[in-house]
């Protein structure tokens, strides 16, 4: 079991290295136009955001709509660190991620007692409160946002952070904690009867996801050089949620696929923003009506493929389908 996981990890790292080398070559040789370079960066950011939201919405089965708020915290805290305190880039983004994590913990402890719909609205409200608070702090630019942030995020940074995120999340999902989170999703009464402190694991998932959302925020502000409150409205949370739902709740590879597909749709329809949102909306409705488990369901692409090769080898981690 452990051997197989390690082997999977090795393959995973090898593939990601090859992908990285390929893209790095294309970017440094300027074969890709600036439009594609931008979109590749956005894809990396979206993969971080979607896979971390998946830990809350997919694996733990809670419904958070406040991811953009944590992203905003990461973006602003890291921007303040580089611009006002002149910290090195890596310290700033780590500080942003840590700040988002602390806030995620503080918000998670009270709100995660709530169930389903209430939690959705409460997290959405939290996200908006964060945004409105930032809007009212004149030191960070208020409504006009911060600009002139050093653009230190490169493709290497983005890719590296993305791989770290995916790796950490994957290991969490396959750990004891991940199993506990899955049991909370499947049936939280049964889980607590089995001695699992459900609130503890909900808060755990929420905090970890906020840390990565903060990381993505820090990378975001240092890639574009600006941080603006209007980048972190609940529409962004909806965007991220669409990616997770499209890919499949509970599937990391699904989140990657969802992020890639939706970023491409967004890029292709850049000049028709209304159509883009209509496509998103129809995608959400039709997916829920005809394929509520998304593209991948809650399975991982890797385990599906491995399952094909090793006949009878059960894929790990996932319990029966959602009811």
């Amino acid at each position: 079991m452990i051997k197989r996981l390690r082997k999977q990890d090795a393959i995973f790292l090898l593939i990601s290295f090859v992908v990285f080398a390929a893209f790095q070559f294309l970017i440094s040789e300027r074969i890709l136009s600036s439009f594609w370079r931008l979109n590749i960066a956005v894809i990396c950011l979206n993969i971080i955001l979607a896979s971390s939201l998946n830990l809350i919405n997919g694996v733990t089965g809670q419904f958070s709509l406040g991811h953009a708020g944590f992203m905003a915290v990461g973006a602003y805290v890291s921007a303040v660190c580089t611009m006002f305190f002149h910290l090195p880039f890596i310290c700033s983004i780590l500080a942003g991620a840590a700040a988002a994590g602390v806030l995620g913990f503080c918000i998670g402890v009270p709100t995660l007692h709530l169930q389903g719909d209430y939690l959705a609205i409460a997290t959405l409200g939290m996200g908006e409160i964060i945004r409105i608070t930032i809007l009212n702090i004149p030191q960070v630019g208020g409504a006009s946002g911060m600009s002139g942030i050093p653009t230190e995020t490169t493709f290497t940074w983005l890719f590296f952070c993305m791989i770290v995120t995916l790796f950490v999340l994957k290991n969490i999902i396959n750990s004891n904690q991940g199993r506990a989170c899955l049991s909370v999703r499947e049936n939280d009464i049964a889980a607590s009867a089995m001695g699992i402190n459900t609130t503890e694991f909900k808060v755990f998932a929420f905090t970890v996801a906020s840390i990565f959302a903060g990381l993505a925020g820090g990378l975001f502000s240092h890639y574009f050089g600006i941080a603006h409150p209007s980048s972190f409205t609940f529409m962004r949370s909806f965007d991220i949620m669409t990616m997770v739902v499209l890919g499949g709740l509970g599937s990391l590879s699904g989140s990657i696929i969802g992020a890639v597909i939706l970023t491409f749709i967004a890029a292709a329809m850049q000049s028709y923003p209304e159509y883009r949102m209509i496509v998103y909306a129809l995608l959400l409705i039709i997916l829920m009506l005809y394929r509520p488990n998304g593209i991948c369901g809650d399975k991982e692409l890797v385990s599906v493929i491995l399952g094909r090769f090793k006949k009878g080898g059960k894929h790990d981690g996932t319990v029966a389908e959602n009811k």
């Binding site: 609205i121 409460a122 959405l124 409200g125 009506l289």
Partner: protein, 323 residues
């Protein structure tokens, strides 16, 4: 109504309402007078929230679903009222009736097409669909009718009454009167008619209601019709009050009405009315005495506080979760 006599009456002062309101705040002799003035403004805003909140609460009571698209139904109501008043040149009452009928049918259609097939799916699926419907309505309206805000025609005379230093506009009175009439009608329908009895039965226990020969589908459709038509009426009233409508106008009032519904106790009809009024008054006081930028944050803060202290709402009874 008897708009004509008042339009040419002695009291007719055609000045923009918003200006008057600000003027009143500045000129208010005492803090107390200002307080009462904000209370009046809050009640008229709150009765609109209450009308929208009623739709949320009824739908939640019967289906346990937060209809995220409800705010957009309200926006459609405002547009229907706008076209009824400009293109067809209907006066106030026919416009509001037309808006109510159209939004009622829209609500029924949304339920039939998007929610009914998912009635037995996991909650997260229905919630996602509701967000999809909401985005679809917003951006389809934007595509068809352009994102530009439109000026709502003055369907009601902009008469201002001054009573002992307090300023009340004729529009505020109409908003209050129309809201009260609609709420009385709703209370009558729910408590005294056969359909209302069916609604209460379905919300108590859909399966048992079906066994008793109640047509659950029809009852849910009717609930959506009534709830959406109330939102449509609110849309027209807001259009008249603020003079301006745009495709995304439904997002914030929609969320605030939801907060109002939770505040009063979701699923409880008098609770939605009380919650709407309280929220409107709190918002008016905050924008009058602190800053209007914190208005939206205050609404969400109320939500989080009420969810933490008494999640069943002000008028709700505590229920223990059954295993």
């Amino acid at each position: 109504m008897h708009g004509r006599s008042i339009r040419y009456g002695v009291l007719h002062i055609p000045i923009e309402i918003e200006g008057i309101r600000r003027g009143a705040i500045m000129l208010g002799d005492t803090l107390f007078l200002q307080f009462i003035q904000q209370l009046i403004n809050g009640i008229s805003l709150g009765s609109i929230y209450a009308l929208i909140a009623l739709g949320y609460t009824m739908v939640y009571g019967i289906m346990k679903l937060i209809n995220f698209a409800h705010g957009d139904v309200y926006m459609v109501g405002a547009y229907v009222g706008f076209f009824a008043a400009t293109a067809v040149r209907l006066p106030f009452f026919p416009s509001i009736l037309l808006a109510m009928v159209v939004t009622g049918i829209l609500g029924m259609a949304v339920e039939r097409l998007a929610y009914k097939p998912l009635r037995h799916s996991p909650k997260i699926a229905i919630l996602t669909t509701a967000i999809g419907v909401s985005l679809f309505l917003e951006y389809t309206t934007m595509l068809v009718l352009t994102p530009q805000p439109r000026t709502f025609p003055p369907l009601l005379p902009e008469t201002i009454y001054t009573v002992g230093g307090l300023i009340v506009s004729f529009q505020q009175l109409v908003i209050l009167v129309v809201s009260i009439i609609l709420m009385i009608l709703l209370t009558y329908v729910v408590n005294r008619t056969k359909m209302g009895k069916a609604m209460r039965a379905v919300s108590y226990d859909p399966d048992a209601a079906q066994l008793m020969g109640i047509n659950v589908d029809k009852t849910i459709s009717f609930t959506f019709f009534v709830g959406s038509s109330l939102a449509g009426a609110a849309g027209v009233l807001v259009g008249i009050y603020y003079n301006s409508i745009e495709p995304l106008m439904g997002i914030m009032p929609g969320m605030k009405a939801f907060i109002a519904a939770v505040l009063g106790g979701i699923g409880i009809i008098p609770g939605a009315m009380a919650g709407g009024l309280i929220l409107g008054i709190v918002e008016a006081l905050i924008s009058g005495f602190i800053s209007s930028t914190f208005r939206d944050a205050a609404a969400f803060a109320i939500l989080i506080i009420i969810l933490l202290i008494k999640p069943t709402g002000l008028l709700g009874k505590n229920e223990h979760e059954k295993v």
